[in-house]
Amino acid sequence: MRVTHNITYNGYVNDLTRQQERLLGLHKQISTGKSVNAPSDDPVKVNTLLTSRGLLSSVSQYDRNADSGLSYLGIAEGALSRAKDTISRLSELAISSNGIIDAGTRANIAIEVNNLYAQLVDQSNTTYDDKYIFSGYETDTAAFTSLGAYQGDANAQAIKTGISTNVTIGVNGGEVFKGVGGGVDIFGKISAFVTALETNDTAGCKTAIDDMSSAFDQVSDAVADIGGKVTRLNALKSDYSRISMELRTVMSGIEDADMAKVISDMQLGQAAMEASLKSAGRIFATNIFDYL
């Protein structure tokens, strides 16, 4: 082949450009730490990567939803535990009221029961972030009046915990304290107990023992229910963290540059570039007119 002036120079320029492009690509991988920097670097990987990112974002949001649910449930659990204590004291008083005591003592017990009643109303009106947690959707309305009338609605809030799953995190005050939908109207029963005490109605006081015990059971059930939901949310949270971990591993496998490989490639490339610069220097320095 005749090697002409332009072949030498063009060939050199083309080769040098290619080497520079390669080095630039490696440099980009080193400086970003990513092996995939544009969709065209590896379209299939990029699809997986973007899908994983979308999933990760969903899972992180579900995790935040679960956190918000857990704190909500925590507040409700605390309030109901305190309500349990209150009702447990009422049970004690119901038992005492059935002893051999006189009307005056019963009237004294009535005063304490009234106080406990007010305390239970307060507990049923527990707020979280300025919202009444037992009012169903009516979170800006107190759940119960001082007379024990329920002012909320029959709903309970849910949070999103998966593509098509929701977990109810609201505890409906109507159900827990008023027995809406088949249960004990706790406030009603306490009022009846007070009336029995004040009228020295021993039969009424006897009924109160059973009433307070079923009230206690009703609130206990609600607490257990919350416990179940907390367990479920915690299980979901550990699922989320496992899924996120897996997704992160997948993503890292796809997008993270293999530094050892990239750096050694870079060194190889540099050496090749230096060699070709040196060889070009030699070739261009040689001129036939120096010898003629």
Partner: protein, 546 residues
């Protein structure tokens, strides 16, 4: 006849030949770097011998021609290769730029904004009465709209620029065509006398190469050395000494990119190479991406609005849109023969919208059919009466006589998705109007509607995929397209370099070769001069005989 005079003649011709050859060599050296230059050689031949005394005597040397070392096949190959190379190059450059705009790997693009948008819906659901979460939702939806706008602006500007560049390249083609026609004339005028018009041919080849980098050409040379140039596998641009003007004309089927017309033939679909083809290809990809993004944005607006309007805000209002509702765009096709106008495009029932594009076609001045151009199904048809509302699939518009009636063949385009990525905007400004509640009595704690809205993230509402999947598919498709174009470009570049190398190997100037031939010719010149002085001395000796 072998006289001393003839020796002097031989020496004279030898001197002249060497001088001519040196002149050719210096021309080669001077043009070593001229693009498209083909090296030339002085073709020497012995002069006709003469017979004298039963012997044949040579009469020296003559320069018969100055030949151009060029291979027509290589030149044609190089043209084809250049054509493909510049097609892939311009397409690749444009697509890579687009890829940069919708590249979501930085985590700040549409898909990240979409995720943030739906995430903030979840936050509102977690805390439906809180002002802060609601504000964040509005801000995230504004950011998402902003991402769509950026893509819209980019594509809009790119298509505008492309159209301008295409027109500019058409002018360049016209200028090259005129120059080739000129050269055709000069070359045939020179060559009619039997001389080869070397440098003019080089110039013409270089112009043809330049032309082939803009569009694919086929070149046919006739017997008087003129070339005819055909473009896009069809019409001729140059025929001998004449050239045609290519023009850019409004395209009634494509409002973004003009038609490239040569000899009355639209070349847009016929071109197969050159940067024009690359630009047209890239424009098609830009339009596809825009259409897909429009559909995505329009679907988002439609789905979010339909769900949002079912719910109740903290202020108790309902039926509110979350995003600005979609606009129905209507336009007549540029080439309509009739005089009617279309106006008043409006959405009548957003839940009935198909988000497909439609065309109203007139079969006569009084009858029209509406065709869904995505499914090719006839949606409705009727008798035309000026000014009456035409409505179907949740949208409506009016066609009215303007300076005249419609005519058979009139077409009007109707679309609810066109410009969706430009128009998308958050309509809700007051966070309390965000409809998280599913009932009016459920305010403020009811989050049921917001949960459904948040669930839109995972609903397959767009061509059986979710918003995220749909967008990822756009990004991936573009990635594949860019990769393919880049690979083709790299392969074509190697091929072109090889062909260029082969061409340079044959036609290129080798400085070493020329230097050596310079020395060789110098020596020959000296030798011829020596012959002359020897003959002169012999003559002198002869004349000195007394």
């Amino acid at each position: 006849m072998s006289s001393l005079n003839s020796v002097l003649d031989i020496a004279k011709n030898a001197l002249l030949s060497s001088q001519k050859a040196i002149s050719v060599t210096s021309h080669n050296i001077a043009n070593a770097n001229t693009p498209g230059y083909s090296r030339q050689v002085a073709v020497l031949e012995p002069m006709d011998p003469v017979s004298f005394g039963g012997l044949y005597f040579g009469t020296g040397v003559k320069t018969t021609s100055i030949a151009r070392v060029s291979d027509g096949f290589q030149t044609a190959q190089l043209r084809d290769a250049t054509s493909n190379l510049s097609m892939f190059e311009s397409k690749g450059d444009l697509l890579q730029a687009l890829e940069g705009v919708i590249n979501d790997l930085g985590g700040t693009g549409v898909s990240a904004s979409l995720d943030a948008f739906f995430s903030s819906m979840n936050s509102v659901a977690n805390n439906p009465s809180s002002y802060a979460e609601r504000s964040v939702l509005i801000s995230n939806s504004t950011i998402l709209a902003e991402r769509f706008h950026e893509i819209d602006t980019y594509i809009r500007q790119s298509l505008g620029n492309l159209n301008t560049e295409i027109t500019a390249q058409i002018n360049e083609v016209n200028s090259i065509g005129a120059q080739i026609a000129d050269l055709n004339e000069q070359i045939s005028a020179v060559e009619i006398s039997g001389v080869s018009a070397n440098d003019l041919r080089d110039r013409r080849d270089e112009l043809l190469k330049g032309l082939s980098s803009i569009l694919d050409v086929s070149v046919v040379e006739n017997n008087i050395g003129q070339v005819d140039v055909f473009v896009g596998g069809g019409p001729f641009l140059v025929a001998g000494p004449n050239s045609k003007l290519m023009t850019s004309e409004i395209n009634s089927e494509d409002t973004d990119i003009n038609n490239i017309v040569c000899n009355g033939v639209a070349l847009n679909d016929r071109l197969s190479g050159g940067s024009l083809k690359g630009k047209l290809d890239a424009a098609a990809v830009l339009q596809d991406v825009r259409d897909e993004m429009n559909l995505m944005a329009a679907t988002l607006v439609k789905e979010v609005n339909s769900q949002h309007s079912l719910g109740y805000g903290l202020d108790g209002t309902t039926g509110n849109d979350f995003f600005e509702p979609l606009t129905v765009y209507t336009e007549p096709v540029v080439s309509n023969p009739g005089r009617a106008v279309i106006s008043g495009g409006a959405v009548t029932a957003s839940n009935l919208l198909t988000l497909d594009d439609y065309e109203v076609r007139f079969s006569s001045a009084s009858a029209y059919t509406v065709v869904n151009t995505d499914t090719d199904a006839v949606v409705t048809s009727g008798a035309y009466s000026s000014g009456s509302t035409i409505g179907f699939d949740g949208l409506s518009f009016v066609i009215t006589d303007n300076t005249g009636t419609p005519a058979a063949g009139d077409r009007f385009r109707v679309s609810a998705t066109k410009n969706a990525i430009r128009d998308i905007a958050t309509l809700v400004t007051n966070p309390n109007k965000i409809a998280a509640s599913s009932t009016s009595s459920g305010v403020p704690g009811n989050n049921a509607n917001m949960l459904i809205m948040a669930g839109l993230k995972d609903s397959a509402v767009l061509d059986s995929s979710t918003f995220g999947q749909y967008y990822n598919a756009i990004v991936t498709d573009l990635g594949i397209n860019v990769k393919e174009t880049t690979r083709n470009y790299e392969a074509q570049k190697l091929v072109t370099e090889e062909i260029q190398k082969a061409r340079d190997s044959v036609s290129g100037v080798s400085i070493e070769e020329e230097a050596i031939s310079l020395i060789k010719l110098q020596r020959a010149y000296e030798a011829a001069a020596k012959v002359m002085s020897t003959a002169d001395k012999m003559l002198e000796a002869l004349l000195n005989i007394r």
